[in-house]
Symmetry: C2
Amino acid sequence: MPRQADPRKKQRILSIATDLFAANGYHGTGTAQIADAAGIGKSALYHHIKSKEEALFEISRLLLEELVQAGERIHGKAGPADDKLRQLSRELIRNIGANLTAWQVVSAEFEQLTGYRKRIIAELRRSYENTWLTVIESGTAAGLFRALDPVQAKAVITMHSQTYLWLRADGRLTPEEIADRLCELVLDGIHARPTPTGT
Amino acid sequence: MPRQADPRKKQRILSIATDLFAANGYHGTGTAQIADAAGIGKSALYHHIKSKEEALFEISRLLLEELVQAGERIHGKAGPADDKLRQLSRELIRNIGANLTAWQVVSAEFEQLTGYRKRIIAELRRSYENTWLTVIESGTAAGLFRALDPVQAKAVITMHSQTYLWLRADGRLTPEEIADRLCELVLDGIHARPTPTGT
């Protein structure tokens, strides 16, 4: 049996590869640089990661699998759709805030993946989006949400997933506070309204 | 006096450079390829574009200047803030739909710009965002919009500017229809509401 790879070592290598991809781009980074930055030889690196593309794939897969699993957990719970939307939002913004560099890399370099790896990452993205769509549709079915055009549902998801472009780890608001503000916008819009009890 | 460059020739070269940057990435494209694809020699190319970075800068500048000017025109008109928001939205989605490849390049490769060029493009982006922020703030001042947290205003802009990620030129809806649906979402949210005249 081949010697089992230490998952913490692999995680450390992927974290180093993430930083290098973010700093120099996928095309500007080689496996030799990843090995150097990790302080290991190329053959030791090969024990964990067989290629640069495998590194990008693993970074993307781990990030998205965590989200897909969290999404399914939230979707499977009881409760109204707007609560579930708020939970999806909090989970996503927390994930983005905790993995800003990985989000930049995974978003910017997706097109560099090829073959089955590209299809798997595209499928994980689709699965995660589908959780949002299902929650939104269940809200519409329950009469809690208006019927949305697909581009509106897409915009709700994009508004959340693209926060990595401006979110800062040392920002004024916690990820949960940002999520709650985005959901307030999505759920109730920006038009001022008379309060329900207004005279 | 140096011979004046023909602006249509320059526009054609920039359009070819946009396609090459989109297909092969900024790092994967050289001025020799741009000249080849344009069917001209390197010295003829140099007459219009001095470097690869100048090409990316010009592509970005032209795209953003058009938006900034349209934004200022809309902002300068009379009318309620929600109408202006709808006009900003239509103008932006039209621009994105008409320049999808340029939007991909300008968004993906901004970090490749350096020095004064990077500062000018960042300033144009800021100016354009400021038009949206000013329109939103004027709506709040007029009592038409709720007071928004800065992250909510940012999310409204991001939701629009990131449509280049999923907008398709041959899509089901016109850019104007997409813009109107995004504005409906932003203005009134997805929560179902009793109609104002409901009994």
